[in-house]
Assembly symmetry: C2
Homo-oligomer: 199 residues x 2
């Protein structure tokens, strides 16, 4: 029996790798376009993770005629009023690189006393079907920030984020360790049944 | 106009990420199955890279009805009579992990004088169409081995492989630097035109 096909509404190869690893036991075929100009370019204009993930998933479901999965995620720093949150990917500006965002947050963190560096990663994943049906799920990973980046795995703010119960940063964990604890791992495991057993 | 679809005949998320990054400017949609049990499980029984890549590409082209791309690659150490070559992924045994293979090669390298540690990475990529048509291309990255692993990027033998003209190991390069010089980057850039402009 052929497997069901799902479109993956992201063009970020690092994210694609993580999702494929997290969802390695999903009996599905994935359709994706790493940089196909015919795929919709979605502006992340929403104010929430859910709105942004939904915009991406719906656009790709409409384009491909397949159910489409998209996630939006960010880091929430207690001392920054839970920001940058949904703006995490554009913290240092609309075209900012991961490295620029990271350096800007390190600068901010150095002004904050060590005991006030609580933070969490949050990920919202949406599956949108071409007929308008939709499910979503959220995953949270609590932790704290450090001012000296460590580790080369992962991406985004991983080198300065230490998950609760860990001594190592998210960027120092193995892929398996990261997915077991990460916001993205939790979100995709949480949505699994609703996606695979949709009516 | 919808983009052409190609199946990617690999289940290795690290390889998938690299191929998507290398082929970011290919105007195509990718179909892949990170671990779909309905996709063919291909035993890499060939004696050459080309045979192994062909086995994988043909099996997935037959299963999906789409043109399918597969690569096979390995490292060739001068002092080991150009081995392990196509057996690189199974150097320490049929079920060996990347880490076990790496440790075994490091052990071998320590017996070899520094001036005799020349090696190269080789990658052969095949695109097979369901009607039996096929194209292939090869990419080589020359370099030398070191006995002390360095860096956390990449995979396989990257932490002990220093590409020609570099001071850093393949695992210390950024993704962009690695793809610009790597055997896989060269192979996929080489096959690009034949795949995208097939008759």
């Amino acid at each position: 029996m052929p497997s069901p096909r799902f479109a993956l509404a992201t063009k970020n190869p690092g994210k694609i790798r993580e999702i494929l690893e997290i969802c390695a036991d999903w009996p599905v075929e994935w359709i994706l376009a790493s940089n196909d100009p015919s795929w919709p370019q979605v502006e992340e204009t929403g104010e929430t993770y859910l709105e942004n993930a939904r915009l991406k998933a719906k656009a790709v479901a409409a384009h491909t005629g397949l159910p489409a999965l998209a996630d939006d995620s960010g880091i929430e720093v207690d001392a920054l009023n839970r920001g940058p949150g949904p703006l995490s990917a554009r913290f240092a500006g609309p075209e900012a690189t991961d490295q620029e965002n990271l350096l800007l947050l390190i600068k901010g963190i150095r002004e904050i006393r060590a005991e006030n560096r609580g933070a969490r990663y949050r990920c919202v994943v949406v599956c949108a079907w071409p007929d308008g049906a939709e499910v979503s799920a959220e995953g949270i990973c609590d932790g704290r920030l450090i001012a000296e980046p460590r580790g080369e795995g992962g991406f985004g703010y991983d080198p300065i984020f230490v998950p609760q119960g860990q001594d190592r940063t998210m960027a120092e964990l193995t892929h398996e360790e990261k997915h077991a604890t990460s916001h993205r791992g939790r979100a995709f495991r949480s949505i699994r049944e609703a996606v695979l057993h949709a009516p």
